[in-house]
Assembly symmetry: C2
Homo-oligomer: 792 residues x 2
């Protein structure tokens, strides 16, 4: 390894949050366990396919070791949300099993009873590789699980840094230098992370602690800070010192190790931080951080503090000058510090070595580094509470080391035992996953319909991009199929002309009428004078007056007894406030149903009811509302399928009109309405009628969709008495919506989940993976098992 001047970077030009821009990905494994905490003997859930072609969900070494992988995402928050969503989806597919929330394995049977991941035809190489690993290292160590965190910096950020550099190297080389410096620095400072976040302190007696070179004997009662990161975890058989000086040097030094026979493949290099090259490129694309343990105190095993700290540590490392070129001797110090803290970090007197060879109290050194990280944060003018909270948290931990995660784990396992504690957590986390099965975590600002579609995409292993988050515009990709989708139901399945026809109520009605489908008869007007003169024609008929376009129910007036010209004219004025053209139609009495038609099939029918409570003769309306609002389907601000019932002025006024108030006690089974309008947004209930409505109405709905030549539509039909079969005139279609919500049919207040997200993906050409024939080779993270000597 050649000596060269350490790479320095000039940060003075750039201030602000642009420093935080980048892409972030997370991978983690969890062992599936049965209700007793024993590693599961069941196969990987069939729904996720054959492990080689699912983008997000596969297995690691063991058949029971689920690996979850997020794509690179533009924020840590999104990456964590994505991971949580994968985690929820996996959890919900398990039958009587749980995801083990700990890096250290659960109860393990004898070696040969630990199931190795099974592969179909296309995965013979993967299968053979695992069989070799099992023989060489034993299956128990392979069952250790962890978290990998991938970081890349924003291209614009890199370009700006390059521009403010001396530019004596190319932009490409500059980028390599940046990632290599981050790698070196994270290798130097990783002990600091373990000191704070290490969370694999003990093992179950079925796990055997073995370490080739450790002078002491440890047993099942041994306590560490991060057993996984210690020599009892994984490591290469001998000390390896790659060249971290240049990208080329790095690649060549590892090739040399393979040539020597030290490694069987480049990927066998164990290192807790690795520069990563994509698609055989000779340039570095990102840095992979492999030291985080699963945190059993968090459902997903990760807290935002953990990752924000690592990311900021990487930036801090990048902007902090190095004392040397990180040659073998300095790598040895870094490795030693890491192993030592992992094993002995519970002790507040534990020391680390400086690169000068001096020993120093680890907590003392930690405080110094964190102080510098905070100073940097301030001097760069960064303002992001996720990062500042993380730094505040780690500061608290080094000031009060007894508050660290590891101590909470030990406290509880001491009382409950290692297995029961983690099992109890696993069960609670499953409950949490069940409670919210509609949100896509990290994307909660997107429409629920889109979130549901994306959840199902993850379940089916469909890769996706969010092309425009505000517009809910996504792209789905699997094999050769690429689909663009906006707001869940605007897709390539429909042609543009039909959408435009649906958007125009007058045209929609004309087409339906031509096809013999009943619509409310009426006239359309483009000027207020003619519309008002229409009173003559509509006098004494029940009418609806509404704007020609618009989809949101605004500007609509219903006049059930149309005998007053002044009221009629006022309604005309209101409608004209929303459009330059209006419709005046006969009003048809009856229940309104939303009928969702997909590819000539009715896939869901819903009726909406205004906000209401049903009495029990005991509780007040106030109490009944509070009880009803506890439903996890009810939330605030459209993040849930239903909204909480409000107890505001509008509701009080409506109760008063019924001679009631919030303190009234409705009789048993008496339903009290708190609103006139049935909108879900004001606490209304959605009630599934898919199985109740006779086929005859469904056929009409399908004919209506066909008349407009549309594949996806939400059709509003008035039915006076749905218990009677449809005739030519006992129904009327009010309109066809070209962008109907799917979430209301998936999570109704009453009734079944009609799984429109699944049906939509079927229709878009993305069936569930089961036994996919075209196996796409996926990168499988392999855990190395050999020991690494810690020289103390």
């Amino acid at each position: 390894m050649k000596t060269k001047n350490p790479f320095k970077i000039n940060s003075s030009q750039l201030k602000g949050n642009a420093w935080l821009n980048g892409l972030f990905g997370v991978e983690k494994e969890n062992i599936r366990v049965d209700r007793h905490g024993v590693i599961a003997q069941t196969p990987h859930p069939e729904i996720f396919g054959d492990k080689l072609n699912h983008s997000y969900i596969t297995t690691d070494f063991s058949e029971s070791q689920v690996e979850m992988i997020t794509p690179p995402l533009p924020s840590i928050e999104q990456a964590l949300g994505f991971l949580e969503t994968i985690h929820d989806i996996v959890s919900l597919e398990l039958e009587d099993e749980y995801l083990w929330p700990q890096s250290i394995p659960p109860i393990l049977p004898d070696e040969d009873q630990i199931p190795i991941a099974k592969y179909a035809k296309g995965g013979r190489k993967e299968q053979e590789y695992r069989n070799k690993l099992a023989l060489k290292y034993g299956r128990k160590k392979q069952a250790i699980s962890g978290i990998h965190f991938n970081i890349s910096l924003d291209e614009t950020l890199l370009e700006m840094l390059y521009q403010s550099s001396s530019q004596t190297i190319s932009a490409e080389e500059f980028k390599d230098e940046v990632y290599l410096k981050i790698t070196r620095q994270l290798l130097r400072y990783r002990w600091l992370y373990v000191l704070i976040f290490g969370s694999s302190p003990i093992v179950d007696p079925t796990y055997e602690l073995k370490c080739c070179d450790l002078p002491l004997y440890f047993n099942a009662k041994t306590r560490g800070l991060s057993i996984r990161n210690s020599c009892f975890g994984y490591g290469n058989l001998v000390d390896l010192f790659p060249d971290y000086g240049t990208a080329n040097g790095y690649l060549r030094s590892i090739e040399q190790m393979v040539k020597n026979g030290t490694l069987t493949a480049t990927k066998e290099l164990y290192a807790s931080v690795r520069p990563k090259f994509i698609n055989n490129s000779e340039s570095i694309s990102y840095v992979e951080v492999r030291f985080p343990d699963i945190n059993p105190l968090s459902k997903t095993g990760i807290t935002p503090d953990m990752l924000h700290f690592i990311h900021w540590l990487a930036i801090y490392g990048l902007l902090t000058d190095e004392q040397n070129d990180f040659a073998a001797e300095f790598q040895t110090i870094a490795n030693s510090n890491h192993g030592h803290i992992s094993l002995y970090g519970l002790n507040t007197n534990v020391e680390v070595k400086t690169e000068n060879g001096a020993a120093i109290n680890a907590l003392y050194e930690a405080k110094r580094v964190i102080g510098e990280m905070l100073d940097l944060y301030a001097s760069l003018g960064i303002d992001n509470s996720d990062y500042s909270n993380s730094l505040t948290y780690v500061q608290e931990m080094v000031n009060h080391p007894d508050r660290r995660i590891v101590h909470q784990i030990l406290k509880e396992t001491d009382v409950k035992g290692f297995i029961p504690f983690h099992l109890e957590k696993a069960k609670r986390y499953l409950q949490q996953s069940k409670q919210n099965s509609f949100n896509f975590k990290g994307l909660e600002d997107m429409e629920l319909s889109t979130q549901l579609l994306l959840r199902e995409a993850v379940r089916r292993g469909i890769a996706f991009d969010i092309l425009d988050r505000g517009e809910n515009f996504i792209r789905l990709k699997r094999d050769q199929n690429i689909q663009y989708v906006r707001q869940a139901t605007k897709t390539s399945l429909d042609n543009y002309a039909s959408i435009l026809a649906m958007e125009n109520k007058v045209i929609t009605k004309q087409i339906l009428e031509e096809h013999g489908i009943r619509i409310p008869k009426g006239l359309d007007y483009t000027d207020q004078i003619s519309a008002k003169a229409g009173f003559q024609y509509f006098r004494d008929k029940a009418v609806v007056i509404k704007p020609k376009l618009t989809n949101f129910g605004l500007g609509i007036t219903i006049l059930k007894t149309n005998s007053d010209a002044a009221i009629f004219e006022r309604a005309v004025d209101i409608a004209f406030n929303f459009d330059s053209g209006i419709l005046i139609e006969e009003f048809i009495e009856g229940k309104e149903f939303r009928i969702f038609v997909m590819a000539d099939e009715v896939v869901g029918i819903l009726h909406r009811v205004p906000a209401n409570v049903t009495g029990n003769g005991i509780n007040t309306i106030h109490e009944l509302v509070i009880e009803k609002n506890k439903d996890p389907l009810r939330g605030k601000g459209y993040h849930t399928p239903l909204e909480k019932i409000q107890m505001g002025e509008a509701e009080l006024m409506f109760l008063k009109a019924q001679d009631k108030d919030f303190e009234s006690i409705p009789g048993k089974d008496v339903t009290i309405f708190l609103r006139e309008n049935s909108n879900i947004s004001t606490g209304g209930d959605s009630i599934d009628f898919t199985d109740e409505i006779p086929d005859s109405y469904k056929q009409i709905a399908v004919r209506a969709a066909q008349a407009l030549d549309v594949k996806i539509t939400g059709l509003d039909m008035i039915i006076p008495d749905y218990k009677q079969e449809a005739t030519d005139d006992n129904y009327a279609i009010i309109e066809l919506n070209f962008n109907p919500a799917i979430h209301i049919h998936c999570h109704p207040f009453k009734g079944k989940n009609r799984r429109l997200n699944e049906k939509l993906l079927d229709l878009l050409g993305f069936p569930i993976l089961k036994e996919a024939h075209e196996a796409t080779h996926r990168r499988i993270c392999l855990k190395m098992q050999c020991c690494e000597l810690i020289k103390n």
Copy 2:
């Protein structure tokens, strides 16, 4: 025929323009003539198909007698515009021929040289029928041409009238009564129309005046008011008196005539006004008015005054009480008045008979009736200048009968001769048709692209509906093919998701870039603070700052030297005024071309140049602008492919910056620009480059359309030097427009008509009719030739 109380109608309930609502259709024939005024011996233009399946253009008796048919339209203005458009389209297809602008035939050869319309296989019945007519009546009389005007009342109007009636009959019967009363009244008053508008006063010597029962002998010098409406025109062999009392009575009385052998078919009944039944219905759908002559003073043969007068006469007749049941004796009086005025109406002393048998001066009686028509107009509170102008016109004609059309015709034919006068008119009308080949008359408020598409639809015999005029939303129909089209280029050819992707510039660019197509590099921002911070990144680079959505060039700033943060920030603010997201992109120097891609083919390329004039060393800029503005392609308010160059403040300022004003005289071949922007709307020129741009650029354009999976797009490409072949980086695509105008490619300032309207219809599955195999039987209006006795 049973006597019954004459049908009365109560008009007191209803006031206003609703009385004018209805549907109006026009049919007319014109003989094709050669440059000498001789009936053409050439076949009907092949492009219009085989006569049985063109919706608008067919032949009547003679192969040279073009029949033009409008669909029923919601206003007379629209019907006339439609007819004019058909007339223009037919005229433009003729080679060295003209449309003869007179009901009386042009120079006719011997009987057997007058070509009878020829039919392909499917038209054998039509062919045989014509052969029979030729033998029975002679071909010369069959060559008389005329105008039919079809009137139906608005359904809502009919329903309102029914509701305010005593309702002793059904709504259906009520409607029949209305149409029958209109028929009776128009038969009574038709002499009044002929008196004013008759315009077939003389014949060419090759036409022979023959009338079975007329006591006097008339020769080629005979002058009448409307020879066509006289006994020298057509009529049944004997007097026929249908029952005009009820729809059923009418149908049965005609059936009886057929039974008797008086008529060979019901359609052989000659009557100058007929109630019409559609699709074998027993109810009347509309009234057909057959007495208008072709008016040679108007290009289409019809003036708005003619039809508005007839329509109002129908309403007047409907609301005026009848004195009798219009039995045979009263029909005889009406027929006699009509024939008499047709022949002798030039004489101001001519008389008509009242139903009491009294003779009365026709002009005096005309004044009385017109006075009542005006009173009715006022009392119903109608306000429509088309109708009031028409009434004013007819009033003037009866007050000054020497100002009638017929006198103008006679005056000119006396000087020039019958044939030369009409031939001169025919030639002038052809010139007028050529001058404006882009507008669809009567629909000039619609977008030019839509007008061009509709013109081509007419040429191809495609039926269409205007579903929403303001939205330019139309439906095209021929055989089984139905296509919905909005704004000419929003069609079923494109899928909705691709449209949405095109609409979003950020997504468009991402997709193009992924496909290796060069775009201006840049960044997008959703908040002003981040965007302004971007100055650091874009400093000293030429940039374009623009809103994310929008299609109209609004809010865009170009900074060629981006060195001032304040200016940069101002541009950011401007862009954010138009959208919540903006793009900052590299500015690429070069000419911008609009490339129109249709179904993977470049069909037109256009470059736009700012308003300019080119000097000749003699004229001032002012004079050059006036000269350039004379181009019929230039108009005002977007009704023409180009806009007139303005000479306003903006232009003057721009000239002053060049040390010029409107009085400056540019040197020969020196081009002076009057504007910086190249918009067509401010007088810019459109220049066709379709043949100049190398294929290599076209291939890139097609690839870009394919990348977004769109069939129709107008793509904006910057090309620094179009004389060089395209490489990977000597071009850039700025955006793809999902609703590109087609008219700019059809009528550019310089270059060929790229006929995108034709290409679009090809693509939509509507090829040109030539020899269509599925012959659809069309109603062919047949002219009867036998004589009708006028008892004087």
